[in-house]
């Protein structure tokens, strides 16, 4: 009996991610959701600009590479072209919450029937560790060498809280992948975000609190500890909006 295998939707190619990076786990969870829902043949993924830029090589479904921040707009085009396709974006914090904030907010408010996987690791990884819109107050990065000073650089953007204030989106949740328990929960929530699309419920975004050992300057295990001690207190996990559940509860 096979107890553990590679999801079919995850391509058999070496990934370029750094050792200890959690992108690999999140890719797996996405691929697993696609497998379990049997939507590989109708799925189309949108890769971002950032560390996951080459995600188009890692999923076996049709893929497109978007310009920095524009993934939700590209996904809108794909979905409007053929609503029977299952369209998802996979974006980082710089992509989604900085340069692409307008596209994110408007796709959400239109309740565009797409699934957004938002990887928040509080840093620009691909370009070598600059301050992100989600970098924590005091966090040292290449472009905040004395720590993020909120009086000049402003405060981190809490994307899930912000988007859940909108009437439009169907489902907004924040998960983490720093330990087995959280990974298992993330798996459930990511699957739900795809299921919502299959059931035509609308815009579903899962923020995944993640780590970046390389640019945080930490060992993989210390990085996961930092997620637990610093990231999660600032970015509390949970379901922030679930319109369907709300309706059932009413």
């Amino acid at each position: 009996m096979v107890v553990f295998e590679r999801p079919k939707s995850l391509a058999k190619v070496p990934m370029h991610y750094c050792p200890g990076c959690t992108h690999g786990i999140i890719h797996r969870l996405v691929a697993q959701a696609i497998d379990e829902l049997g939507i590989e043949g109708s799925a189309i993924g949108v890769a971002p600009v950032g560390c996951a830029v080459m995600a188009y090589n890692y999923f076996t479904c049709d893929m497109i590479e978007a310009a920095h921040g524009r993934a939700p707009a590209v996904a809108t085009g794909l979905k409007r072209s053929d609503p029977s396709k299952i369209v998802f974006t996979y974006q980082g914090d710089g992509d989604l919450a900085s340069i692409g904030m307008a596209e994110t907010v408007h796709a959400a408010t239109r309740n565009e029937n797409i699934t957004v996987i938002f990887v928040n690791n509080a840093i620009y990884g691909m370009t070598g560790g600059q301050m992100a819109p989600t970098s924590l107050p005091g966090q040292v990065t290449q472009t905040s060498p004395y720590g993020r000073d909120v009086s000049t650089a402003g405060y981190p953007i809490k994307v899930s809280e912000m988007l859940s204030a909108l009437d439009g989106p169907e489902f907004i949740a924040r998960v983490a992948v720093n330990n087995v328990k959280n990974v298992k929960n993330a798996q459930k929530i990511i699957k739900k975000a795809f299921e919502n699309q299959v059931n035509n419920k609308g815009f579903s975004l899962v923020e995944v609190v993640s780590s970046c050992p390389t640019n945080w300057g930490k060992t993989p295990s210390d990085a996961l500890k930092w997620v637990e001690e610093n990231m999660i207190p600032y970015y509390p996990l949970g379901i922030y909006k679930d319109k369907s559940a709300q309706k059932e509860g009413e």
């Binding site: 590989e40 043949g41 109708s42 799925a43 189309i44 949108v46 830029v53 080459m54 188009y56 090589n57 999923f59 076996t60 479904c61 049709d62 893929m63 497109i64 590479e65 978007a66 310009a67 524009r70 707009a73 590209v74 996904a75 809108t76 085009g77 794909l78 979905k79 409007r80 072209s81 053929d82 396709k85 307008a102 596209e103 907010v105 408007h106």
Partner: protein, 353 residues
């Protein structure tokens, strides 16, 4: 033959696009092209199409990119400042070898400029516009009829060569009303095996992409694209020649400038000046051949433009600077009068009389 109807240029583009099989339109309001979006907003829901007012020009062109990747005919329209915003997306569409239509109903610039007609986005349209080496097929209508006809042609050429096409109009063409005969033939679609339609578990995944981190690969894609461009330059240049056979002075003008110039050429002939007009219908590919041909017999060229002189560079290149080329232009939303063009023709002819 179909009936003639009176239409605004902007509306003629919209109706022609629908008849060419375009069912997806994404735009953002800007004068003087808004009637096009309004027409689409009214029509698309009635025919099972998609009209979406995007949050920005940037989002609109990226929605176009998304639909283009699925192989369906798709368009956006805007005016100069908005088209500047679209350039990033246009570069991605060109770099991913996708067909799409972008309409620019030009207005005066730079900056916010004005809302009156202009042709000052010529460089942007014909030399690429965004980052990287690429071209668009650029068509320049000079009547409401051509607004319709060239829209259909733009979709066909974009599909045929897998690249974005642009309809480069101006505020006059967009706003003026003329009788127009709309196409009644069914559009022909080409096979697009590269399109993102879902693998259906029947084929390997398709990837639409413009990223190549290995320089040899990126160079190869550029070289291949430019091989295609060479073919387009050979086969797809379009123009209209008017009284050029025996012309001493050859006027070159497109769009509204060409209509004004035609009147001036007729007036010049009445005065005994042998003037002619070459009207580029495509400005990329630029009709080099007829212009180079004209240089063999005519003495001088006049480039009539609603810009500070942009197309004039292409005329000089086409004739290898073998004849004097003067510029007759108004800018900022002004249009040269036939009298102003006539004066320029007289001056150009003057030295030889």
């Amino acid at each position: 033959m179909s009936e003639k109807v009176l239409m605004k240029g902007n509306e003629a583009i919209a109706e022609a696009a629908i008849r060419a099989g375009c069912r997806h339109y994404f735009g953002y309001p800007i004068t003087p092209q808004t009637e096009l979006a309004a027409y689409m907003a009214k029509r698309m829901p009635k025919i099972g199409g998609c009209f979406l007012q995007a949050e920005s020009e940037i989002a609109a062109i990226n929605m176009v990119y998304g639909v283009a990747a699925t192989g369906k005919r798709v368009m956006t329209s805007s005016s100069s400042p908005g088209v500047s915003l679209k350039q990033e997306g246009i570069s991605y569409i060109a770099g991913s070898d996708l067909p799409a239509l972008i309409v620019n109903v030009q207005r005066g610039g730079p900056g916010l400029g004005g809302i009156q007609p202009s042709q000052s986005d010529y460089f942007q349209a014909t030399k690429g516009g965004g980052h990287g080496d690429y071209h668009l097929i650029v068509l320049t209508p000079a009547s409401v009829q051509e607004m319709a006809d060239l829209t259909g042609l733009a979709f066909e050429l974009a599909d045929k060569y897998r690249m974005p096409a642009m309809l480069l109009a101006d505020g006059t063409m967009g706003q003026m009303m003329e009788p127009v005969e709309l196409p009644e033939t069914e559009p022909e679609f080409v096979d697009k095996p590269w399109a993102l339609t879902g693998t259906g578990m029947k084929r390997e995944h398709n990837i639409v992409n413009s990223l190549y981190l290995v320089p040899e690969e990126l160079e190869r894609t550029n070289l291949e694209r430019f091989e295609r461009y060479k073919l387009i330059e050979e086969k797809e240049a379009r123009w209209e020649s008017f009284m050029t056979e025996d012309a001493d002075v050859c006027v070159v003008a497109f769009g509204i400038a060409a209509r004004v110039s035609k009147n001036a050429v007729v007036e010049a002939r009445k005065l005994g000046i042998k003037a002619g007009l070459i009207r580029p219908i495509t400005v990329w590919p630029f009709p080099k051949k007829p212009i180079a041909e004209a240089a063999k017999t005519c003495k001088a060229f006049v480039s009539v433009e609603l810009s500070m002189g942009q197309m004039i560079d292409d005329i000089n290149l086409a004739i290898g600077c073998s004849r004097p080329v003067s510029l007759c232009s108004r800018v900022g939303g002004m249009i040269p009068s036939p009298e102003e063009v006539l004066e320029s023709i007289k001056k150009a002819a003057g030295g030889n009389e």
